[in-house]
Subunit: 218 residues, 2 copies
Amino acid sequence: MTTRNITRFWEWGRKIICVGRNYADHAKELKNAVPTEPVLFLKPPSAYVKEGSPILVPHYSSNLHHEVELGIVIGKGGTAIPQTSAMEHVAGYALCLDMTARDVQDDCKSKGLPWTLAKAFNTSCPVSDFISKEKIPDPGNVNLWLKVNDKMRQNGHTSQMIFSIPYLISYISEIISLEEGDLILTGTPKGVSSVQEFDELQAGIEDILTMTFKVDRL
Amino acid sequence: MTTRNITRFWEWGRKIICVGRNYADHAKELKNAVPTEPVLFLKPPSAYVKEGSPILVPHYSSNLHHEVELGIVIGKGGTAIPQTSAMEHVAGYALCLDMTARDVQDDCKSKGLPWTLAKAFNTSCPVSDFISKEKIPDPGNVNLWLKVNDKMRQNGHTSQMIFSIPYLISYISEIISLEEGDLILTGTPKGVSSVQEFDELQAGIEDILTMTFKVDRL
Ligand SMILES: [Mg+2]
Ligand SMILES: [Mg+2]
Ligand SMILES: [Mg+2]
């Protein structure tokens, strides 16, 4: 496994850990309480999709939402990582979309069921190219935006996160050990909205990177 | 990646997909409705633990339950696999425990939160050695049992599954593509119960294999 290349983490990384409700304004727009500890859920690596391939609307959903998020790519694994050394475990970043079947998620929430069908389907995790750590000296202080068909929908700032990146790395790794190649999705700012077949999503982070995805149906 | 050995799938496999409530008698004991479609949730590969290492009770739980389950090890990946060819995608099996923080799961269910803290923590997926496909000619017709400190707690039969193995492979792969090395946990029969620090769990499948795990606290 010495040939693993962190810049292609989506090809071999073994988990995607997502944080929900990490921006107060987004928690409010979905009428959720602002959490007192991080809300965690998982996507499988089969959820990854890269530019050039479409985001597919699951056949069982009629309300697929975009959530633009900063992704943390883990370079050095660990368990119960202290906050003070958490950033040493970060190899870099990726701009990510946490695609969410909102109708299905609402149904899961009301029935007390796991969120898998809402969050873990194929193409539910579009990711940008790898962004090296040096390009984002302060990941708690960058702008993220997303447009649907050229209309701005989300325009937030990672300084609005409720739980900081070092806190999340420490909190998660106490429960779920982190490994090289893992990805942490850090939550989305407000402005999530529905996308349809043929829509074009464009997302960006500061002046560092933009990415574009088309939406398709199976 | 040509050196991957399916008999050590836990070292490199990228996902664990679990089916909940797949035995009617277990759904009833937890007062859940018998499902009309499979309930799916995920564990990350960091949840794997092998004999010789302990099962750890999460610090935030005081009601850790055992669930003995037949695990399906995927040999050939695929998307939307038809039921008729599903068994061609199976490389073999493993005896598995779906360790569940039942108090936390009850809390997640009542709050509409994902099941991650209840199901995905470190050591939440004890697995046996790999069992080759030939050793279980009919996986829908085998006995699974689990003892805690020599007392029989679960003694079920895979013929009691609500959704068959070919059905599960087909259903899952339509939503979440399967890859070589993936593991599917097929649900547990009735008899789940609480385990404590220093308990010894022994589980077996027919006369094919037994495994033993100790319970410890962090
Ligand atoms: Mg989940
Ligand atoms: Mg999100
Ligand atoms: Mg189970």
